[in-house]
Protein backbone atom coordinates (compact mmCIF):
# COMPACT_ATOMS: atom_id res chain seq x y z
CA UNK A 1 0.00 0.00 0.00
CA UNK A 2 1.40 3.39 -0.88
CA UNK A 3 2.06 5.89 1.84
CA UNK A 4 0.43 9.26 1.49
CA UNK A 5 2.72 12.10 0.74
CA UNK A 6 1.86 14.89 3.16
CA UNK A 7 0.60 15.71 6.62
CA UNK A 8 -2.98 15.99 5.47
CA UNK A 9 -2.71 12.60 3.81
CA UNK A 10 -1.61 10.91 7.02
CA UNK A 11 -4.60 12.29 8.86
CA UNK A 12 -6.90 10.95 6.18
CA UNK A 13 -5.31 7.55 6.32
CA UNK A 14 -5.90 7.26 10.04
CA UNK A 15 -9.52 8.26 9.62
CA UNK A 16 -10.02 5.98 6.74
CA UNK A 17 -8.26 2.92 8.03
CA UNK A 18 -11.34 1.35 9.58
CA UNK A 19 -13.36 1.96 6.44
CA UNK A 20 -10.65 0.64 4.18
CA UNK A 21 -9.92 -2.41 6.24
CA UNK A 22 -12.65 -4.74 4.91
CA UNK A 23 -11.85 -3.88 1.30
CA UNK A 24 -8.15 -4.38 1.81
CA UNK A 25 -8.68 -7.67 3.63
CA UNK A 26 -10.75 -8.87 0.72
CA UNK A 27 -8.22 -7.58 -1.76
CA UNK A 28 -5.42 -9.10 0.28
CA UNK A 29 -7.20 -12.43 0.20
CA UNK A 30 -7.36 -12.24 -3.56
CA UNK A 31 -3.72 -11.25 -3.67
CA UNK A 32 -2.76 -14.12 -1.39
CA UNK A 33 -4.67 -16.60 -3.51
CA UNK A 34 -2.86 -15.42 -6.61
CA UNK A 35 0.50 -14.55 -5.14
CA UNK A 36 2.20 -17.70 -6.36
CA UNK A 37 0.56 -17.50 -9.77
CA UNK A 38 -1.25 -20.16 -11.76
CA UNK A 39 -3.93 -20.63 -9.12
CA UNK A 40 -7.59 -21.05 -9.77
CA UNK A 41 -9.58 -18.08 -8.61
CA UNK A 42 -12.19 -15.67 -9.82
CA UNK A 43 -12.39 -11.92 -10.01
CA UNK A 44 -15.38 -9.65 -9.60
CA UNK A 45 -15.03 -5.88 -9.60
CA UNK A 46 -18.22 -3.88 -9.33
CA UNK A 47 -19.80 -0.74 -7.91
CA UNK A 48 -19.05 2.49 -9.68
CA UNK A 49 -17.01 3.10 -12.79
CA UNK A 50 -13.56 1.61 -13.10
CA UNK A 51 -10.66 2.67 -15.27
CA UNK A 52 -9.17 -0.34 -17.05
CA UNK A 53 -5.98 -0.36 -19.04
CA UNK A 54 -4.20 -3.25 -20.69
CA UNK A 55 -1.45 -3.61 -23.23
CA UNK A 56 -3.53 -6.24 -24.98
CA UNK A 57 -6.62 -8.34 -24.44
CA UNK A 58 -7.03 -11.32 -26.72
CA UNK A 59 -9.84 -13.82 -26.69
CA UNK A 60 -11.63 -16.46 -28.71
CA UNK A 61 -15.38 -16.80 -29.09
CA UNK A 62 -15.81 -13.09 -28.65
CA UNK A 63 -19.13 -11.28 -28.56
CA UNK A 64 -20.46 -7.91 -27.47
CA UNK A 65 -23.98 -6.58 -27.05
CA UNK A 66 -25.78 -3.65 -25.52
CA UNK A 67 -27.47 -4.69 -22.28
CA UNK A 68 -29.63 -3.25 -19.51
CA UNK A 69 -27.76 -3.23 -16.22
CA UNK A 70 -29.51 -2.11 -13.06
CA UNK A 71 -27.47 -0.33 -10.44
CA UNK A 72 -27.85 1.22 -7.02
CA UNK A 73 -26.00 4.33 -5.92
CA UNK A 74 -24.52 4.97 -2.48
CA UNK A 75 -27.67 6.92 -1.60
CA UNK A 76 -29.88 3.96 -2.42
CA UNK A 77 -31.24 5.35 -5.68
CA UNK A 78 -31.58 2.79 -8.45
CA UNK A 79 -31.32 3.13 -12.16
CA UNK A 80 -30.55 1.26 -15.35
CA UNK A 81 -27.37 1.69 -17.35
CA UNK A 82 -26.90 0.50 -20.93
CA UNK A 83 -23.28 -0.56 -21.31
CA UNK A 84 -21.74 -2.54 -24.12
CA UNK A 85 -21.13 -5.95 -22.56
CA UNK A 86 -18.16 -7.82 -23.97
CA UNK A 87 -17.65 -11.52 -23.40
CA UNK A 88 -14.73 -13.83 -24.12
CA UNK A 89 -14.99 -17.58 -23.64
CA UNK A 90 -11.21 -17.76 -23.31
CA UNK A 91 -9.10 -14.71 -22.75
CA UNK A 92 -5.44 -13.76 -22.48
CA UNK A 93 -4.28 -10.46 -21.06
CA UNK A 94 -0.98 -8.71 -21.51
CA UNK A 95 -0.89 -6.82 -18.22
CA UNK A 96 -3.95 -5.34 -16.55
CA UNK A 97 -4.50 -2.29 -14.38
CA UNK A 98 -7.78 -1.39 -12.66
CA UNK A 99 -8.30 1.89 -10.84
CA UNK A 100 -11.36 2.96 -8.93
CA UNK A 101 -11.88 6.14 -6.99
CA UNK A 102 -13.51 6.03 -3.59
CA UNK A 103 -14.83 8.76 -1.35
CA UNK A 104 -13.86 8.06 2.23
CA UNK A 105 -14.74 10.55 4.96
CA UNK A 106 -14.91 13.29 2.38
CA UNK A 107 -11.56 12.53 0.83
CA UNK A 108 -10.86 10.91 -2.52
CA UNK A 109 -8.70 7.81 -2.73
CA UNK A 110 -7.91 5.52 -5.62
CA UNK A 111 -7.72 1.77 -5.21
CA UNK A 112 -5.43 0.38 -7.90
CA UNK A 113 -4.99 -3.28 -8.80
CA UNK A 114 -2.37 -4.43 -11.28
CA UNK A 115 -2.05 -7.97 -12.59
CA UNK A 116 0.59 -9.65 -14.67
CA UNK A 117 4.12 -8.61 -15.50
CA UNK A 118 5.65 -5.63 -17.28
CA UNK A 119 6.75 -7.52 -20.40
CA UNK A 120 4.72 -6.21 -23.38
CA UNK A 121 5.61 -9.40 -25.27
CA UNK A 122 3.81 -11.82 -22.97
CA UNK A 123 0.09 -12.49 -22.56
CA UNK A 124 0.64 -13.89 -19.10
CA UNK A 125 -2.86 -13.65 -17.60
CA UNK A 126 -5.41 -16.22 -18.67
CA UNK A 127 -9.12 -16.03 -17.96
CA UNK A 128 -12.30 -17.92 -18.69
CA UNK A 129 -15.72 -16.45 -19.39
CA UNK A 130 -14.55 -12.87 -19.02
CA UNK A 131 -17.31 -10.26 -19.06
CA UNK A 132 -16.77 -6.49 -19.26
CA UNK A 133 -19.48 -3.83 -19.10
CA UNK A 134 -18.02 -1.02 -21.14
CA UNK A 135 -18.92 2.66 -21.29
CA UNK A 136 -16.07 3.75 -23.51
CA UNK A 137 -12.78 2.37 -24.73
CA UNK A 138 -9.92 3.70 -26.79
CA UNK A 139 -7.45 1.36 -28.44
CA UNK A 140 -6.98 -0.84 -31.46
CA UNK A 141 -9.64 -3.46 -32.06
CA UNK A 142 -8.88 -6.35 -34.40
CA UNK A 143 -11.40 -9.06 -35.13
CA UNK A 144 -10.98 -12.10 -37.32
CA UNK A 145 -12.56 -15.36 -38.32
CA UNK A 146 -16.24 -14.84 -38.92
CA UNK A 147 -17.21 -11.32 -37.83
CA UNK A 148 -20.80 -10.05 -37.69
CA UNK A 149 -21.69 -6.41 -36.94
CA UNK A 150 -25.16 -5.36 -35.76
CA UNK A 151 -26.25 -8.92 -35.05
CA UNK A 152 -29.26 -9.11 -32.73
CA UNK A 153 -27.80 -9.01 -29.20
CA UNK A 154 -29.46 -12.16 -27.80
CA UNK A 155 -28.22 -14.20 -30.78
CA UNK A 156 -24.50 -13.86 -30.06
CA UNK A 157 -22.60 -16.83 -28.64
CA UNK A 158 -19.53 -17.10 -26.42
CA UNK A 159 -19.39 -19.96 -23.94
CA UNK A 160 -20.66 -23.53 -24.36
CA UNK A 161 -22.61 -25.58 -21.85
CA UNK A 162 -21.50 -28.95 -20.50
CA UNK A 163 -22.68 -30.63 -23.69
CA UNK A 164 -20.67 -28.32 -25.89
CA UNK A 165 -23.72 -26.41 -27.04
CA UNK A 166 -23.50 -22.61 -27.10
CA UNK A 167 -25.27 -21.04 -24.13
CA UNK A 168 -28.28 -19.06 -25.40
CA UNK A 169 -28.01 -15.30 -24.94
CA UNK A 170 -24.86 -15.50 -22.81
CA UNK A 171 -24.62 -11.72 -22.36
CA UNK A 172 -28.29 -11.40 -21.28
CA UNK A 173 -29.00 -8.82 -23.95
CA UNK A 174 -32.60 -7.71 -24.54
CA UNK A 175 -34.03 -8.26 -28.01
CA UNK A 176 -33.13 -5.92 -30.87
CA UNK A 177 -29.95 -4.54 -29.29
CA UNK A 178 -26.72 -3.98 -31.19
CA UNK A 179 -24.36 -6.94 -31.11
CA UNK A 180 -20.97 -8.04 -32.43
CA UNK A 181 -19.81 -11.61 -32.96
CA UNK A 182 -16.26 -12.68 -33.86
CA UNK A 183 -14.17 -15.81 -33.92
CA UNK A 184 -11.51 -13.94 -32.04
CA UNK A 185 -10.80 -10.40 -31.02
CA UNK A 186 -7.70 -8.58 -29.90
CA UNK A 187 -7.70 -5.15 -28.29
CA UNK A 188 -4.34 -3.44 -28.06
CA UNK A 189 -3.37 -0.44 -25.93
CA UNK A 190 -6.79 -0.26 -24.30
CA UNK A 191 -7.83 2.53 -21.97
CA UNK A 192 -11.43 2.00 -20.96
CA UNK A 193 -14.12 3.02 -18.54
CA UNK A 194 -16.10 0.00 -17.37
CA UNK A 195 -18.99 -0.52 -15.01
CA UNK A 196 -17.80 -3.93 -13.91
CA UNK A 197 -15.45 -6.75 -14.72
CA UNK A 198 -16.27 -10.38 -14.07
CA UNK A 199 -14.08 -13.43 -14.47
CA UNK A 200 -16.19 -16.19 -12.94
CA UNK A 201 -14.03 -18.98 -14.38
CA UNK A 202 -10.38 -19.79 -14.04
CA UNK A 203 -8.04 -16.81 -13.60
CA UNK A 204 -4.29 -17.28 -13.54
CA UNK A 205 -1.72 -14.51 -13.24
CA UNK A 206 1.93 -14.47 -12.29
CA UNK A 207 1.63 -11.28 -10.27
CA UNK A 208 -0.85 -9.09 -8.47
CA UNK A 209 -0.31 -5.78 -6.74
CA UNK A 210 -2.82 -3.71 -4.80
CA UNK A 211 -2.18 -0.13 -3.82
CA UNK A 212 -4.18 2.80 -2.50
CA UNK A 213 -3.33 6.31 -3.65
CA UNK A 214 -4.57 9.56 -2.16
CA UNK A 215 -6.52 11.66 -4.61
CA UNK A 216 -7.62 10.74 -8.11
CA UNK A 217 -4.96 8.53 -9.65
CA UNK A 218 -4.97 6.81 -13.02
CA UNK A 219 -3.44 3.65 -14.38
CA UNK A 220 -0.35 4.36 -16.49
CA UNK A 221 -0.84 4.45 -20.26
CA UNK A 222 -0.37 0.92 -21.60
CA UNK A 223 2.65 0.32 -23.84
CA UNK A 224 2.17 -1.22 -27.28
CA UNK A 225 2.38 -5.03 -27.31
CA UNK A 226 5.21 -6.84 -29.01
CA UNK A 227 4.66 -10.16 -30.74
CA UNK A 228 1.40 -12.09 -30.77
CA UNK A 229 -0.46 -14.02 -28.10
CA UNK A 230 -0.37 -17.79 -27.93
CA UNK A 231 -3.41 -19.96 -28.18
CA UNK A 232 -5.30 -20.09 -24.89
Amino acid sequence: MSAPGGEEGRTHWRQASLVLLPALVAAGGLGGALADGALASSLLVQSGTIQLTTTSLYGTHYAAALVDQTYETATGATGTAHPLRMGFANGLLNGLCLAQQQQILGATYTLMITLGDTDPGSWEISTQNTVLDLRSATGVLDMDGLVDLNINGPDVTTVNDANGVPVPNPLLSPEHRFGIQAGYAKFDRVTATVDDLQVPGLLTTPGLNISVHPGAASCPAPPAPTGTPGTP
Binding site: H82, L146, I151, N152, P154, F178, P229, G230
Partner: protein, 207 residues
Protein backbone atom coordinates in the same frame (compact mmCIF):
# COMPACT_ATOMS: atom_id res chain seq x y z
CA UNK B 1 -29.88 17.72 -73.92
CA UNK B 2 -27.48 19.23 -71.40
CA UNK B 3 -28.85 16.90 -68.75
CA UNK B 4 -28.13 13.86 -70.96
CA UNK B 5 -24.65 15.15 -71.69
CA UNK B 6 -24.02 15.62 -67.96
CA UNK B 7 -25.28 12.16 -67.18
CA UNK B 8 -23.14 10.60 -69.90
CA UNK B 9 -20.05 12.44 -68.74
CA UNK B 10 -20.55 11.34 -65.13
CA UNK B 11 -21.15 7.75 -66.24
CA UNK B 12 -18.03 7.91 -68.40
CA UNK B 13 -15.98 9.34 -65.58
CA UNK B 14 -17.24 6.65 -63.26
CA UNK B 15 -16.39 3.96 -65.78
CA UNK B 16 -12.89 5.40 -66.13
CA UNK B 17 -12.36 5.32 -62.40
CA UNK B 18 -13.18 1.70 -61.91
CA UNK B 19 -10.94 -1.14 -62.83
CA UNK B 20 -13.14 -3.77 -64.36
CA UNK B 21 -12.66 -7.46 -63.85
CA UNK B 22 -13.77 -9.80 -66.59
CA UNK B 23 -15.98 -12.05 -64.57
CA UNK B 24 -19.11 -11.24 -62.67
CA UNK B 25 -18.97 -11.64 -58.92
CA UNK B 26 -20.00 -14.86 -57.32
CA UNK B 27 -21.91 -15.37 -54.13
CA UNK B 28 -19.95 -16.92 -51.28
CA UNK B 29 -20.84 -19.66 -48.95
CA UNK B 30 -21.47 -18.45 -45.43
CA UNK B 31 -19.22 -20.09 -42.93
CA UNK B 32 -21.64 -20.63 -40.10
CA UNK B 33 -25.27 -21.46 -39.58
CA UNK B 34 -27.37 -18.63 -38.19
CA UNK B 35 -27.83 -18.60 -34.44
CA UNK B 36 -31.31 -17.60 -33.36
CA UNK B 37 -33.20 -18.19 -30.15
CA UNK B 38 -36.45 -20.17 -29.97
CA UNK B 39 -39.35 -17.96 -30.99
CA UNK B 40 -37.24 -15.70 -33.16
CA UNK B 41 -37.83 -15.64 -36.91
CA UNK B 42 -35.36 -17.31 -39.24
CA UNK B 43 -32.86 -15.06 -41.02
CA UNK B 44 -33.74 -14.11 -44.56
CA UNK B 45 -31.46 -12.64 -47.19
CA UNK B 46 -28.46 -12.58 -44.88
CA UNK B 47 -26.92 -15.12 -42.51
CA UNK B 48 -28.07 -13.59 -39.23
CA UNK B 49 -30.83 -11.39 -37.85
CA UNK B 50 -29.73 -7.74 -37.68
CA UNK B 51 -31.40 -5.30 -35.33
CA UNK B 52 -34.20 -3.14 -36.73
CA UNK B 53 -32.03 -0.03 -36.35
CA UNK B 54 -29.54 0.38 -39.18
CA UNK B 55 -26.04 1.61 -38.47
CA UNK B 56 -25.21 5.03 -39.86
CA UNK B 57 -21.78 4.66 -41.43
CA UNK B 58 -19.71 7.51 -42.85
CA UNK B 59 -16.21 7.12 -44.32
CA UNK B 60 -14.27 10.14 -45.51
CA UNK B 61 -12.09 8.14 -47.90
CA UNK B 62 -12.03 4.46 -48.80
CA UNK B 63 -10.74 1.93 -51.30
CA UNK B 64 -13.02 -0.91 -52.36
CA UNK B 65 -11.58 -3.89 -54.22
CA UNK B 66 -13.60 -6.52 -56.06
CA UNK B 67 -16.96 -4.93 -55.34
CA UNK B 68 -20.09 -6.63 -56.62
CA UNK B 69 -23.63 -5.45 -56.04
CA UNK B 70 -26.87 -7.37 -55.67
CA UNK B 71 -29.87 -5.08 -55.85
CA UNK B 72 -33.31 -5.59 -54.31
CA UNK B 73 -32.34 -8.08 -51.62
CA UNK B 74 -35.02 -8.66 -49.01
CA UNK B 75 -33.66 -9.20 -45.51
CA UNK B 76 -35.45 -9.97 -42.27
CA UNK B 77 -34.75 -7.93 -39.14
CA UNK B 78 -34.82 -9.26 -35.59
CA UNK B 79 -38.32 -7.88 -34.99
CA UNK B 80 -39.62 -10.03 -37.85
CA UNK B 81 -40.13 -7.19 -40.32
CA UNK B 82 -38.46 -7.24 -43.71
CA UNK B 83 -36.78 -4.54 -45.75
CA UNK B 84 -35.57 -4.54 -49.33
CA UNK B 85 -32.07 -3.22 -49.63
CA UNK B 86 -28.77 -3.73 -51.46
CA UNK B 87 -26.05 -6.28 -50.84
CA UNK B 88 -22.45 -5.17 -51.44
CA UNK B 89 -19.69 -7.77 -51.49
CA UNK B 90 -16.01 -6.79 -51.31
CA UNK B 91 -12.77 -8.69 -51.30
CA UNK B 92 -11.09 -5.75 -49.62
CA UNK B 93 -12.51 -2.65 -48.03
CA UNK B 94 -9.84 -0.28 -46.83
CA UNK B 95 -10.73 2.74 -44.74
CA UNK B 96 -8.19 5.38 -45.72
CA UNK B 97 -9.44 8.08 -43.40
CA UNK B 98 -12.04 8.59 -40.71
CA UNK B 99 -14.85 6.12 -40.35
CA UNK B 100 -17.70 6.89 -38.00
CA UNK B 101 -20.35 4.32 -37.10
CA UNK B 102 -23.43 5.14 -35.03
CA UNK B 103 -26.16 2.76 -33.93
CA UNK B 104 -29.05 4.33 -32.08
CA UNK B 105 -31.52 2.09 -30.27
CA UNK B 106 -35.19 3.09 -30.01
CA UNK B 107 -34.64 4.20 -26.40
CA UNK B 108 -31.96 6.64 -27.54
CA UNK B 109 -28.96 4.61 -26.40
CA UNK B 110 -26.26 5.25 -28.97
CA UNK B 111 -23.17 3.22 -29.69
CA UNK B 112 -20.48 4.97 -31.69
CA UNK B 113 -17.29 3.63 -33.20
CA UNK B 114 -14.94 6.37 -34.31
CA UNK B 115 -11.85 5.54 -36.35
CA UNK B 116 -10.00 8.82 -36.91
CA UNK B 117 -7.41 7.59 -39.40
CA UNK B 118 -6.95 4.38 -41.39
CA UNK B 119 -8.65 1.06 -40.68
CA UNK B 120 -10.06 -1.93 -42.46
CA UNK B 121 -13.27 -3.84 -42.95
CA UNK B 122 -11.60 -6.49 -45.11
CA UNK B 123 -8.07 -7.32 -46.22
CA UNK B 124 -5.86 -10.25 -47.13
CA UNK B 125 -5.63 -13.43 -45.08
CA UNK B 126 -2.38 -15.05 -44.01
CA UNK B 127 -2.34 -17.06 -47.23
CA UNK B 128 -2.44 -13.81 -49.19
CA UNK B 129 -5.94 -14.46 -50.38
CA UNK B 130 -8.58 -11.73 -50.30
CA UNK B 131 -11.12 -12.04 -47.56
CA UNK B 132 -14.80 -11.44 -48.07
CA UNK B 133 -16.81 -8.60 -46.61
CA UNK B 134 -20.55 -8.39 -47.20
CA UNK B 135 -22.58 -5.31 -46.36
CA UNK B 136 -26.36 -5.05 -46.46
CA UNK B 137 -27.75 -1.54 -46.63
CA UNK B 138 -28.36 1.59 -48.61
CA UNK B 139 -25.68 4.01 -49.73
CA UNK B 140 -27.09 7.52 -49.57
CA UNK B 141 -24.02 9.21 -50.96
CA UNK B 142 -20.66 8.33 -52.43
CA UNK B 143 -18.23 10.48 -54.39
CA UNK B 144 -15.58 9.70 -56.97
CA UNK B 145 -13.02 12.20 -58.15
CA UNK B 146 -12.26 13.08 -61.74
CA UNK B 147 -10.42 16.36 -61.43
CA UNK B 148 -13.17 17.38 -59.03
CA UNK B 149 -15.26 15.20 -56.70
CA UNK B 150 -18.47 13.95 -58.31
CA UNK B 151 -20.97 12.91 -55.67
CA UNK B 152 -24.25 11.05 -55.68
CA UNK B 153 -22.98 8.30 -57.96
CA UNK B 154 -24.40 5.46 -55.86
CA UNK B 155 -26.94 4.69 -58.57
CA UNK B 156 -24.15 4.15 -61.07
CA UNK B 157 -22.27 2.07 -58.52
CA UNK B 158 -25.30 -0.16 -58.03
CA UNK B 159 -25.81 -0.43 -61.79
CA UNK B 160 -22.23 -1.26 -62.81
CA UNK B 161 -21.59 -3.39 -59.75
CA UNK B 162 -24.55 -5.61 -60.49
CA UNK B 163 -22.79 -7.20 -63.45
CA UNK B 164 -19.07 -6.45 -63.19
CA UNK B 165 -16.52 -6.34 -60.39
CA UNK B 166 -15.37 -2.86 -59.51
CA UNK B 167 -12.25 -1.50 -57.91
CA UNK B 168 -12.75 2.06 -56.80
CA UNK B 169 -11.41 4.78 -54.62
CA UNK B 170 -14.18 6.88 -53.19
CA UNK B 171 -14.93 9.59 -50.66
CA UNK B 172 -17.94 10.98 -48.86
CA UNK B 173 -19.38 7.54 -48.15
CA UNK B 174 -22.64 7.85 -46.25
CA UNK B 175 -24.84 4.80 -45.74
CA UNK B 176 -27.47 3.13 -43.61
CA UNK B 177 -26.15 -0.36 -42.99
CA UNK B 178 -28.16 -3.20 -41.44
CA UNK B 179 -25.28 -5.60 -41.17
CA UNK B 180 -21.66 -6.29 -42.09
CA UNK B 181 -20.13 -9.74 -42.14
CA UNK B 182 -16.47 -10.47 -42.80
CA UNK B 183 -15.07 -13.91 -43.38
CA UNK B 184 -11.44 -14.98 -43.02
CA UNK B 185 -10.88 -18.63 -43.76
CA UNK B 186 -7.24 -18.36 -42.67
CA UNK B 187 -7.62 -16.47 -39.43
CA UNK B 188 -4.33 -16.31 -37.57
CA UNK B 189 -2.95 -14.39 -34.65
CA UNK B 190 0.09 -13.20 -36.55
CA UNK B 191 -1.98 -11.71 -39.33
CA UNK B 192 -1.58 -7.98 -39.65
CA UNK B 193 -4.33 -7.72 -42.26
CA UNK B 194 -7.24 -8.68 -40.10
CA UNK B 195 -10.57 -8.14 -41.82
CA UNK B 196 -11.78 -5.84 -39.11
CA UNK B 197 -9.04 -3.49 -37.91
CA UNK B 198 -10.44 -0.56 -35.98
CA UNK B 199 -7.97 1.72 -34.22
CA UNK B 200 -10.15 4.20 -32.42
CA UNK B 201 -12.79 4.63 -29.78
CA UNK B 202 -16.00 2.82 -28.87
CA UNK B 203 -18.46 4.79 -26.77
CA UNK B 204 -21.94 4.14 -25.42
CA UNK B 205 -24.09 7.13 -24.55
CA UNK B 206 -27.55 7.17 -23.05
CA UNK B 207 -30.12 9.94 -23.36
Amino acid sequence: MNRWRQLLSVAGAFALLVAVAVLPGEGHAHAAAPQVLPGEPAPLGMPYLPTPSAMHVTIDNLTAIGLTVKNNVTIRLSDGTTVTTTQYTFTQLQVNSHMHVTHTAPDGTALTIDIPAAGSLGGLDTAGQPETTVMWGTIDNICVTVLIPICGVQGLLNFFGSFIKLNAGASGFDARVYGIQTIDNHAALSSTDNPVHLPGTITVTTP
